[in-house]
Amino acid sequence: MHEWALAESIVFTVNEEADKERLKDITMVKVKVGELQQIDLDIFKFALENVLPLSSIPLDMNRIDIEIDESTLKCKVCRNEWNFREAAGKLPEEESEAIHFIPEVAHIYIRCPRCGSPDFEIAKGRGVWIDYIKGER
């Protein structure tokens, strides 16, 4: 995921929800981002500042709470579990960048540290989701 795309996604989603529920004010948006997305929070906040003016409902940056969801990778062959932070330190920058854009390509560049298989499940720490939106009607 790209930080700008994420910022746009969130603003559009909040606006759509506000329209649907006829909200007058947004008091809190809880966003969770998987660790594998490797969102740079500074870039994301900068993007958000630029995208917020597109919002038709008043939306304050301080009311958007971003939390990084830590990862769990599970090998389907030997059942080993590890996390992206352990693997990321060994990755060349361009491979890490590829995973940033399309997290699923982690299956190309990461192997199970125990048995070496590429057949693992990203059990946790991928994707982007809005946990909740709080507002006033």
């Binding site: 995921m1 790209h2 700008w4 795309a5 994420l6 746009e8 996604s9 969130i10 559009f12 989603t13 759509e16 929800e17 529920e21 909200l23 007058k24 004010d25 008091t27 966003v31 993007a47 590829a98 854009f101 399309i102 997290p103 699923e104 390509v105 299956h107 190309i108 560049y109 590429p118 057949d119 990203i122 991928r126 994707g127 982007v128 989701w129 809005i130 946990d131 909740y132 939106i133 709080k134 507002g135 006033e136 009607r137």
Partner: protein, 252 residues
Amino acid sequence: MDRLYQRGEVMDPRLNIIDKRFENVQRIIAVSGGKGGIGKSLTASTLALILTKQGFRTGLLDLDFCGPSDHVILGIEGVFPEEDKGIIPPEVLGVRFMSITYFAGYNPVPLRGGEVSNAIIEMLAITRWNELDFLIIDMPPGTGDPALDIIRLIKRVEFLVVTTQSRVALAVAKKELQVLKELGVPVAGVLENMRRKEHSTVKEELSSCKVPFLGSILFDDNLEDALGDPRELLKTDFAAKLERIVKADLIQ
């Protein structure tokens, strides 16, 4: 006093931006075929070149993650998308081209079903096509997750189904057309490729599917030599016939 509201259902915001990404794309054609090896990627790639040649602003999206080949057919190497509030597909030979190969390089991409779906969502969400007359999508074989995802995520997609006169390919094409019909997805037409016999029964066999039959293209013995060189590709008999079909039945 205003009532407090809290939406607790988990929402995937990526889905909301995908519609925005296609706002300025006039037509979206998914080139599909139930079976591999029927010339689907070749049709998609050549179609994109032909449309560009006709003066249309054209994009090509290779969604066959496990076996991408458009970059091979078009001889695309050494280019990478720009970043500008998202990913801008590079323009190669006039075609804006997006592929998993930008992120996978020459490596195989061993993805399971659900992971393919997520990768499609990511790619659709981050890619900024800007204004296009046509976006051609090279679909992976089959009517599994990727096809259903495209139908769900891209509201205005229409399908171009490629088949051959092989009984195997034809049987699978019929199944795909049935699925598309049941889902209410528009079908731009069916294209027969690699015809070898003088008289083919493909058109008759598919008449019960009630979709336009766009035409038939003979097997082109010289095609292999043109792969990787788009200028040579456009000179082939295959491209010439496809261009006639495009002008007659696809450009409206």
